[in-house]
Structure formats: structure tokens, C-alpha cells
Symmetry: C2
Subunit: 201 residues, 2 copies
DNA sequence: CCCGCCCCGGGACAAATGTCACCGCCTTCC
DNA sequence: GGAAGGCGGTGACATTTGTCCCGGGGCGGG
């Protein structure tokens, strides 16, 4: 039996997937969590063979948790399951030591198949997505640029951002300008959009 | 047997739900679509007893399709199934003649139960959500304000918006200002955010 | 008929935003 | 030891954005 941990925030999706996987003869869902920072503790207790992680979770990103999990429980494989096939996400997933990367489009049958292949030691990645990740290149943004850009979502003013990141307003504007330049966009919102699109957050 | 149509864009979610509902003794999934404008044609052919519609679909909004479907196939009940429990969505769903409104959080067991209750003539609505929808009040934005605000997503400049909506830049700025005022926000991005939050798009 | 409200536009003005040049400090790498 | 680059900051500048006030036209209800 393949012992599986399932991390997914949408209750209906989580329940449906769990039920679905439970129908497979060789797969058993031993734990379910809906929150990012429950992943590692729960895994340490349930000791699954494989963890199926969503990326965008409340509490903690599935990518962060993946890296942590690979350290603390190396025998447990990690499969990332996400809505968005963003190049930067795939890149980070691989760097975190994930065995595969699935998008939530695509048929359900892929899921069980991916689990078995990952456990057999294979890497499970959509070829088209892999190509996109390679052609997009690495994240050009520095740490601070990411911070500032992240704080700029949903229309915060420069003053808001400065307060949130503990920087001078003037500095914030410089970072924003740099980020806008690197993303080849025209204003902060386009920059945020482009950065998210690429999975550089 | 309850004949069900399933409209949902995420392949994995769609497949999982279909499989899940298929396990119920009295429910049968007679059609699945992943695109908004396939809903009505497919329903006219498959003649389901109930249609389970996501709102945010490619091609056409599930809410639009719901209204249309109620006209063209009155014996078919409509159940809205969405990620976001936005007050305006609920309001529009009810105006479109939906029999119920489910959010994708919450347990899977709710789904089959909701289908049966909807077919029995009940209205299926989360009480907390209903309260929020009533307290939020109706959409205060005019048609043009909605147009302009919609065109302002992802950081378009005034000139971009003006071109997209075929208006003078000056007029666009006036509408944006009005929308910002009505949403009690400080800039266009916050206004967009607030409007989307409430399901006023 | 008038009132209110929506539509469309213009002008003027203050504030916010984006850009550029320049400063110093620090770390890393050749 | 220098070059390169990230970090934090300042000042100046042009552009954009948000606001307010002003027109005119249309349409519905009292």
C-alpha cells in the first residue's frame, strides 16, 4: 500500500481527491491537511510514502513545506499539485526536491499514475511546462524587489509598502522602478502581474 | 436516477466530482463540460434534471449560462458551485433563478445532499453567506463604472482603458474616480479589489 | 414639466508615481 | 585589491493619477 498525505485547501477538492485515491487498490490516504504549516508535523507523525501538496495554501506555501519535508523525512517523496503551471513554481519545486509537478487541469487518471511513477523513482513533469520553465530563465528579481512587489499587491500606496517592509518611501520607489524595468512592464501593477505569472512572487 | 450536468473548468476537479457523484446510487452524471458556452447546448441535448455550474469558466460566466438555462430548460434546476463566496455572486445567482449556491470549501458530502435538496424544491444556501449578501447591499456601480473598472484590471493605464472601452481619457478618469468613491477605496487597484471581492465585477 | 440619474466630455489642480543620477556601506568573487 | 552587485537612502523631474467643478444630452418617474 502506498501511504499518501494530501495537502489542499479547498475542502471539496481535498475530499474528492481523497475518495478517489482511496478507490485505487494500492493507494491509501493516511492524512489530510488544509493548511500549509500542518504539513510537516502531520507528515512526521503519519510517515507517508508520498506527499501530494498544493502550492497556494493558507499558513505556508506548499513549496516551502516541500523543501522542509525533504530534509526532515527524506524517504517521503513529494508531488506538487497546483492550479497554475507557472515556470517559476516548477523551478522552485524542482529545487525543493520534488519528484513531480502536476497541474489541476488534465484528467484525474494522471494523478494515480503520477504517484506510482514518482514512487518508482521517475520525475513526473509536463514536457510543455518544462520547456516553458527553461525558456523563461531564472528569477531576475532580488530579494528586496520581491518583498516590495509582494507588498504592492492589491493597490497599496508607496507609504503603505514602506511601512510594511520597513524602508524609506524613496527606497521603495527605487525598488519598484527596478522591478518594473526587469519585468519590462509599465507600472507596478503590470509588474506584479508579470512576476506572479512567472511564479517569481 | 437524477440526471446531472457538470460544468467546471479544472479537469481534475471535474473528473473527481463526476466520479464521486457517480458513486451515489441515485445520481448519474450525464454530461460534463469545461467551457461556459457549451453549457446550454449540451444541456438541451442531454436534458439533465440538475446542472452543477462553476462561475468562473472560460468562454462564458456560469451565472450568465444559469439565467439562460432557466429560460430555455425550466425543468432543469441550477446549482452554483464556486470557489468564492462573494455576496454579489450569490445575489446574481438567485436573480438568475438558481436553486442553490455552494462554495468549494466545505465537505464533499454536502454536494450530493445539496443536489437532492434542490431537486426536492428547497433552496440551498449557506446561512452565513446569505447574511453577508444581505448586509452588503446591492451593487452600487453603474454599467459604465463596471466596464471601466473591469478594463482596469492588471494595471492598464487610462489611455489603455479609454481605447478598450471607446471613451475619452477624461471620461475614464471620471468613472474611475466615481468607482473609487463608491467602493470607499483610495485608488483604482483597491477599487478593483473591493469590487471583485463583493462580486460586483 | 421638472427632477434625478445616467451617459459623455473638458479643464484645472494637488498628489502619487516612475525615472534617473548620485551617495555610502557591505559582501562576494576574480 | 578591485570590480560587481545588492542594499538603503536622497533629491529632482516629468508623467500619471485622482479629484472637483463645469458643461451638454437623454431617459424615466412623479
Amino acid at each position: 500500500m502506498i501511504r499518501t498525505l494530501l495537502a489542499e485547501d479547498q475542502g471539496m477538492m481535498r475530499g474528492a481527491l481523497a475518495l478517489l485515491l482511496g478507490l485505487e487498490d494500492d493507494i491509501e490516504v493516511v492524512a489530510q491537511v488544509g493548511n500549509g504549516d500542518e504539513i510537516v508535523p502531520t507528515a512526521l507523525e503519519a510517515r507517508p510514502d508520498i506527499a501530494l501538496l498544493d502550492i497556494e495554501l493558507p499558513g505556508r506555501s506548499g513549496l516551502d513545506a516541500a523543501a522542509d519535508l525533504r530534509q526532515r523525512l527524506p524517504e517521503c517523496r513529494v508531488l506538487i499539485l497546483t492550479t497554475f503551471g507557472r515556470p517559476g513554481y516548477l523551478r522552485r519545486a524542482m529545487e525543493a526536491g520534488a519528484s513531480g509537478f502536476l497541474v489541476k487541469d488534465g484528467p484525474v487518471e494522471d494523478l494515480a499514475a503520477a504517484i506510482r511513477r514518482a514512487l518508482a523513482g521517475e520525475r513526473v513533469i509536463d514536457p510543455a511546462l518544462a520547456a516553458a520553465a527553461l525558456s523563461a530563465g531564472p528569477n531576475p528579481l532580488t530579494q528586496r524587489e520581491r518583498d516590495v512587489l509582494s507588498a504592492a499587491v492589491d493597490g497599496a500606496t508607496v507609504a503603505d509598502i514602506a511601512a510594511k517592509v520597513h524602508l524609506s518611501p524613496a527606497t521603495v520607489r527605487n525598488y519598484l522602478s527596478a522591478a518594473i524595468g526587469k519585468t519590462q512592464t509599465r507600472n507596478r501593477m503590470e509588474a506584479v502581474r508579470a512576476a506572479r505569472q512567472n511564479g517569481w512572487l
